[in-house]
């Protein structure tokens, strides 16, 4: 049976790449997951600067890229109106909650805990929950419709969580010299495990997508065999996972090796976000057997 080809923007019946969510949206997703992941990792390792940087990445970076993506930025406030059915609305509420409670908690921590313990604990809990929502809602927004088969894979929302946490942990390496030996050892081991989990998650997701539908198969093939393969293998896998693993294994507790790992992971993570949007395809309107 004849298979459909990639039709692009032509009027031939075939697969069409989605181009509505582009690099600005990928950047917004990246900032959201990175910032929230760094915040959660910083909570675990008790790092005030990490909390502040994570908040800034979400509050400023994610907001900036979302606004540049919007067709009517002056009406962006309307994105909060339908939390009953839209993950975009729910995510925006989480971002506002995260920034509000996170800033208060971080300021309190920086000033030596001036708030009552109960209030501080409440701020910690709410900000942590909001951070978790930020990491997962983007994948859920992508998966909420059956339009793009690759995005509907069950693992897709968790890629954001796993990569966000990996990035957060990896960035903490920059301050590893300020940690005690035991905490630093845990940090390095966590980073290595996280990278391996990232690799396995990507493999599982792509395998699931390949067998899910024709659209999923086409997306995976574009990523692993055709148009975007060199970027995927070179940057997402090579620079994003293998190089950091090598740097951590060979470099030991070396600052420059840590910087290589940080740069590699962030570059690989960003490339994954861009590529997942780029290879999303709409399936042909009618099955061939119908015509």
């Amino acid at each position: 049976m004849k298979e459909f080809d990639i039709a692009g923007d032509t009027f031939r019946l075939g697969y069409r790449f989605q181009r509505h969510w582009d690099v600005s949206m990928a950047s917004a997703f990246f900032c959201g997951e990175l910032g929230a992941g760094l915040y959660l990792a910083s909570l675990a390792f008790n790092s005030v600067w990490g909390l502040a940087v994570g908040l800034a990445i979400v509050g400023i970076g994610k907001s900036f890229f979302h606004l540049t993506h919007m067709g009517v930025p002056r009406k962006s406030w309307r994105a909060i109106i339908r939390p009953d059915r839209s993950w975009v609305s729910r995510g925006l509420i989480a971002i506002i909650g995260f920034c509000g409670t996170g800033i208060l908690y971080t300021a309190d921590l920086a000033m030596g805990r001036m708030l009552p313990p109960t209030t501080s604990l409440l701020l910690l809990a709410v900000s942590a929950v909001c951070a978790a929502v930020i990491m997962v809602y983007q994948g859920l927004a992508m998966a909420s419709s059956s339009a793009i088969s690759l995005w509907t894979i069950g693992m897709m929302p968790f890629i954001g969580v796993i990569y966000g946490l990996t990035s957060g942990v990896i960035i903490m390496l920059a301050r590893a010299d300020y940690l005690d030996l035991e905490t630093a050892r845990i940090l390095y081991e966590t980073a290595v495990v996280a990278l391996i989990v990232d690799l396995l998650t990507i493999a599982a997701t792509l395998n699931s997508a390949f067998h899910s539908s024709s659209g999923g198969r086409v997306s995976v093939e574009q990523l692993t065999k055709y148009r975007y393969a060199k970027w995927f293998y070179g940057i997402t896998i090579g620079l994003g996972i293998l190089v950091p693993l090598l740097a951590l294994a060979v470099g030991g507790r070396n600052f420059y090796a840590d910087l290589v790992a940080i740069g590699g992971v962030l570059t690989g993570f960003y490339s994954l976000r861009v590529l997942v949007l780029k290879v999303g395809v709409y399936e042909p309107l009618l099955p061939l057997q119908f015509v």
Partner: protein, 204 residues
């Protein structure tokens, strides 16, 4: 209250694109913007080759994923089943566009709305009404020519079709033309596995 729907008769469609031109004229659409398209599929191998033309437009789904994805409430369904976009509420996030399995949404950028078909940069006087009707940055789509339907007319694409390949009518009326076609010739919706319950069907 009618439940408006459409049937495409693939045996009648000749791919003339009169429907596409009528739609663009009726809706004052800018360049590279289509509410309806006619796709082409080439089947077989030489010398036994044939072409099939497959019209497409918004399917005004009963379970519209675009409506569920819209965070601002801009996308809504009228009581007669037409899925509409309130441009005043649209923020241009394109969540609806990536939610539509049929890729039937389009964003009207400022560049598109201010670009003339006729060169020279400036819009012709007869092109300027599009600036009044459309808001730059919003994401919109076919609305079954709701303004014409409210006046008792058919959508522009239906009226323009020379072979009557587009059949529009009330899907809840057992005597309506689309309803009869669907039952007599086993009409199928596009991509039924997406579970959107389209109100547009195809017969061959």
């Amino acid at each position: 209250m009618p439940r408006w729907g459409m049937v495409f008769d693939l045996k009648r469609c000749i791919g003339c694109n009169a429907c596409v031109v009528a739609c663009k004229t009726e809706n004052m659409l800018p360049e590279d913007t289509f509410f309806t398209r006619t796709f082409v599929a080439e089947l077989g191998a030489f010398p036994n080759v044939r072409r099939v033309y497959i019209p497409s437009l918004c399917n005004h789904c009963e379970d519209a994923p675009c409506e569920k994805a819209c965070p601002s409430g801009a996308t809504y369904t009228r009581s007669d089943g037409i899925v509409m976009v309130d441009q005043d509420k649209c923020i241009g996030c394109s969540a609806c566009a990536v939610a539509c399995p049929y890729d039937n949404r389009t964003q009207l950028t400022e560049e598109k709305l201010e670009h003339s078909y006729y060169g020279g940069g400036e819009l012709a006087s007869f092109e300027e009404p599009r600036l009044e009707r459309w808001i730059a940055g919003t994401v919109t789509k076919c609305d079954f020519c709701s303004r014409r339907i409210d006046k008792g007319l058919q959508p522009a694409c239906v009226g323009a079709c020379p072979t009557e390949a587009r059949i529009f009518g009330d899907l809840d009326d057992p005597e309506s033309a689309p309803n009869k076609l669907i039952h007599q010739r086993n009409g199928k919706p596009p991509l039924p596995e997406k579970n959107t319950r389209p109100k547009v069907f195809y017969v061959d």
